[in-house]
């Protein structure tokens, strides 16, 4: 599947494969178009299986003609059968795709690896991004591994863990006084003034393609079959729609058969422009001012919102939102039933899954995959004060006394 052009998702105008992201005719977003290829399915499967244990095994479906050199290859994260969580929720077959198991502990390693490989191919010496943390970590780390200079722009009030886990890689970390949408606007303007590759601005068409690898891995890990339903967090809506594109590409190539899964989107109530538009029956999103603990999902003005709405409706899914308390409960539920500690975005996903289960929206016969996109240690504030520690003198008697007292009081 050789990439052939950048194509406008709205008016289908075509552009060369360089650093651009917006259609000059209608301002619509650009997407990579590929040459339709005829493959022998068995040969193609063997080629994929013989590839490296990460996203570059799927290089044939990414916007490159060869396999890029990447010292920090992400991907092939565990797909875990979550029977205890399924039992708790009254579901049948439930799987958790644990994408916290990436080099910088979030799915952003996938998109950044693709964007940085493209930046190098296009001859950029400096990469940059607007981020709320996960992307910042990934850009700083992958730039360091590739030997590129980097600038990372974040809201100045970001959690300390995310600032620290970005700065450690030796990037130029810039805290902007404002929210993510302010940072994003600044970067969109900077993009015109500096010769930098902004992974999520002028390289966005390539960057976004990296998310397709989550769909490919899911299919491969399920023995070349599809789930019936997926639950995916929505911020800009890019991950949500690109997972569908990944499934669709493999359906078209015949690498997997069946139907596109139902797509359930998950948002935090404090920033739910897509869930609100879904509930109201709108086909565009009204921007919101974010106010939620799920900062990694807090995009008030989601670029792919209209496409996410279309996908949820056409696939038989829907888009829901959950409160901050439900998010915290979701983090805990996942940890207690699967041993996976996720960040607030994962809490949004699990809480949405729980809500769907409670509502009876998921049949017991369905095979469901929930996408956990980030690591709990990055959002410690969400778990603070959520537990009790037994404190004792170092003796067996003290332990017995403490446990007895604790049992009596609970």
């Amino acid at each position: 599947m050789a990439p052939t052009a950048l194509s406008c998702k709205e008016c289908k105008s075509r552009y060369p494969l360089d650093a651009r992201y917006v259609c000059e005719a209608c301002f619509g977003p650009l997407e990579v178009a590929y040459e339709a290829a005829v493959w022998d399915v068995q040969t193609l499967k063997r080629k994929i299986q013989a590839g490296p244990p990460g996203i570059w095994r799927y290089a044939d479906f990414l916007p490159f003609t060869g396999r890029p050199r990447d010292p920090l290859e992400p991907g092939m994260t565990p797909l875990v059968r979550a029977d205890r969580l399924a039992e708790r929720l009254g579901l049948g077959e439930l799987w958790v795709k644990n994408d916290a198991a990436n080099p910088t502990h979030s799915f952003k390693d996938r998109v950044v690896a693709v964007a940085i490989a493209k930046a190098q191919e296009l001859g950029f010496e400096t990469v940059a991004c607007a981020s709320t943390g996960n992307l910042a970590n990934a850009v700083a780390a992958h730039a360091a591994a590739a030997g590129l200079a980097s600038y990372v722009f974040v809201p100045a009030d970001l959690e300390e863990q995310k600032l620290l886990a970005t700065a450690i890689y030796g990037t130029n970390l810039v805290g902007v006084r404002g929210n993510y949408d302010d940072v994003n606007r600044l970067c969109t303007e900077l993009c015109e003034e500096r010769p930098w590759a902004f992974v999520n601005v002028n390289l966005r068409p390539y960057y976004a393609e990296g998310s397709k690898t989550l769909a490919y891995e899911t299919v491969e890990q399920l023995g070349w079959t599809l789930p019936d339903r997926v639950v995916v967090p929505i911020a800009s809506g890019s991950l949500f729609t690109k997972i569908a594109r990944g499934f669709n590409e493999w359906l078209e190539l015949g690498l997997v058969s069946g139907e596109l899964p139902a797509f359930n989107g998950a948002q935090a109530q404090g920033c739910s422009p897509v869930a609100t538009a879904y509930a109201e029956g709108w086909d565009v999103c009204k921007p919101q001012k974010p106010d939620t603990i799920a900062k990694s999902l807090a995009i008030g003005n989601p670029a792919d919102g209209p496409y996410a709405l279309e996908l949820a409706r056409s696939s038989g899914g829907r888009i829901d939102s959950v409160t901050d308390d439900e998010i915290k409960a979701g983090i805990r539920l996942l940890a207690e039933t699967t041993g996976i500690f996720t960040e607030t975005a994962g809490g949004v996903t699990v809480a949405t899954l729980a809500k769907l289960a409670e509502r009876g929206a998921i049949d017991r016969s369905e095979r469901v995959v929930a996408y956990i996109t980030g690591e709990g240690l990055k959002t410690l504030d969400a778990a603070r004060d959520s537990f009790h520690m037994h404190e004792i003198e170092p003796s067996i008697e003290a332990l017995d006394a403490e446990l007895a007292a604790s049992a009596a009081s609970s």
Binding site: Y21, E24, F27, L30, K108, N134, C191, N200, V201, S238
Partner: protein
């Protein structure tokens, strides 16, 4: 009101390369109309049936006009009206 409308690079072919246009207008809609009068090619790129296209964001002094009164948002002397594509993002 005299205001400055900032044109993103993707639209500059339609302004003869100009990145800023000085116009008069008491609302965003009036200011944009004044820009369209000078640079006719911009109208259909930014608007469709009299409303902004869905991937166009307009800011007045940094604030998205959808949080204000849209095209009816009032302007003051010296305001900066910025047009930007909405497709960036993903954090």
């Amino acid at each position: 009101m005299a205001v400055v409308v900032k044109i993103p690079s993707q639209l500059r072919p339609a302004t003869g390369g100009e990145g800023e246009v000085q116009v008069e207008g008491s609302t965003v809609g009036e200011a944009l109309d004044a820009v369209f009068t000078e640079h006719d090619g911009l109208r259909e790129r930014i608007t469709e049936d009299g409303t902004l296209r869905r991937f166009v964001n307009v800011y007045v002094s940094g604030e998205d006009i959808r949080f204000q009164d849209g095209l009816d948002t009032q302007l003051s002397d010296g305001d900066e009206v910025t047009i930007l594509p909405a497709v960036a993002g993903g954090r």
